[in-house]
Symmetry: C2
Subunit: 334 residues, 2 copies
């Protein structure tokens, strides 16, 4: 039996997932563009010229700016809208999307002000009850070119997670299941703070030892925060945590790492931001998480130092020294 | 009160640790060369010309080939001898080393044939009872140049671990303590298998997504093996596990990663080995661990594929495909 997928959001990852799902002949895939201009270019060129240049979109993928057309007959809604635009975009289309449809979120981040995770926003706006999240190390550029990736599909509903696993799996795209939606979503947001920290270490040319230790301690800190908010500890050491953290911290293309790198080289945040066209989510996540951690009394040394560098003009090298000089600890202390 | 350290082994890491410890004026440091010729050059040049070129060894460090002179008055023995030479080297000097002295091992690996960990060899040959291991992401080249590193000191004796932490800690060298000697040592050996796997992925140009997923699943596999042999699960997600794994898999200088890279590019093992002057321990560790895992009935998919590529001439790309096509799983399954 054929399956229909409605992808909301024509960014790099939404487009890459459309290509991935369209690879199977029993799949019908529709991709919705929120902006009319983007939708027109996409349809004309059948290529995401700006974000995934050189990768053709097959004719079998329906490209449309008409939400009713896209969700018509859909078996699964795939929300591929950045967290920062998620609530407003969903509000505009909520009337067309049946609350009975299962929804999988591809968004990473936390809503500014409310601290909401993407699936919480989906539940609030679409009134969806069958929710999942797909996350892990998955640069769209690589997936769209057929390079292998391994991710995790998390849902409180085990049947939904297994169904998503079956829908998305190919010989180059491996999907594990999980029940920890909170953990998978928090990990996806927190790793961007650590991407900034890793960039600072690279900008200061601290070397591989320091970088590896930073990633290791980052993960302890991410897990500490997540567990305090109800996540499972193990999730942080899986694909959505460790896996995505590594990609974020080693890839030369990551925006958060890029911001950190330039801070490490001595530039000021305002200077860096004035020249960037895309958002580095970690800048805002750092502020939200730093405030939340303080409120909850959690020790988050790396987040604290990133916050001080970003918002209190602290010298990056001093921040690193302060991390190294804290009281010596027993490793397993969480 | 001043403290005396006797370092056995003048390799890159033994030398770097000598420099690290000699940085404090209340430390007396002696470095023992097993080979007369190496000892002579080291003393003449006051520089480890081959392994740490450009880093001078201060006059305060005693350089000697006389084991009695080196261990005289020592408060701590530091065994910096590669696992493959450890038993034979220790046998030659055991008479000069008091069994009552505490010993910290810097070796990574497992003894071929016996599957002994370095501290087991130290206990058997020196009859030492107060044993510890120092491990983590710590390229000697970086530590010797004063770049920051963070490691773990593990001992069944918590006082010894704390004492080593105090002795080694500086503003650039951060030491955590642990009680899990078995886990720290197994992690240090197992990560070399995964270094080969990461090299294969790089040689095949599989991208950052695949590499990050590989590291994540490597760690699950390392932990599964370690726990079956009595290690603590958490150790594998700490500095000696994850931290060292990352350095091994991202550094362009790692020998194990280098072997994997060339395999991934299509070269044969015999060809690669014929041109290498230094040992890539992972080649032997893969064989030992593969056999042990089979004997214990443990599922080690990555180790198995590395074994097949190394010893059964399996095509690396087929090995990767076979990893991607295994039955889909729930992520937390260990």
């Amino acid at each position: 039996m054929s399956l229909s997928f409605a992808i909301l959001g024509d960014g790099a990852w939404g487009t890459a997932v459309a290509l991935l799902l369209a690879g199977r002949t029993d799949h019908r895939v529709a991709l919705w563009s929120a902006r009319a201009e983007n939708g027109r270019i996409l349809k004309d060129r059948r290529e995401n010229v700006r974000l995934l240049p050189g990768v053709p979109i097959p004719q079998s993928v329906l490209l449309s700016t008409d939400i009713a057309e896209v969700v018509s007959g859909a078996d699964l809604i795939i929300a591929a809208i950045p967290t920062v635009y998620l609530r407003a975009t969903l509000k505009a289309v909520a009337g067309a999307v049946s609350p009975s449809l299962p929804v999988v979120s591809l968004a990473k981040g936390l809503e500014m002000g409310t601290f909401c995770r993407p699936t919480v926003i989906l539940e609030e706006v679409l009134e969806s009850r069958r929710l999942a999240v797909l996350s892990g190390p998955s640069h769209a550029e690589e997936v769209s070119r057929g390079l292998p990736a391994t991710v995790v599909a998390a849902s409180a509903d085990p049947e939904l997670a297994l169904w998503i696993q079956r829908c998305f799996s190919t010989d180059r795209f491996r999907v594990y299941t999980s029940s920890d939606v909170v953990g998978v979503e928090l990990a996806g947001a927190l790793k961007n703070i650590m991407g900034i920290a890793a960039g600072i270490a690279d900008g200061l040319a601290l070397g591989d030892n320091a970088k590896s230790a930073l990633l290791t301690r980052s993960l302890v800190e991410m897990a500490r925060f997540g567990v305090a908010l109800g996540a499972a500890h193990a999730t942080f050491f899986g694909l959505a945590g460790l896996g995505d953290l590594i990609t974020t911290c080693i890839s030369p293309h990551g925006r958060n790492r890029h911001v950190g790198y330039r801070l490490g080289r001595g530039e000021k945040l305002a200077e860096i931001l004035s020249g960037m066209s895309m958002v580095a989510e970690g800048i805002y996540t750092t502020r939200s998480v730093h405030a939340k951690a303080a409120q909850m009394g959690l020790d988050m040394p790396i987040t604290t130092e990133v916050y001080r560098v970003l918002y209190e003009d602290k010298d990056p090298l001093t921040a690193v020294s302060d991390l190294m000089l804290r009281d010596p600890k027993h490793e397993t202390s969480v």
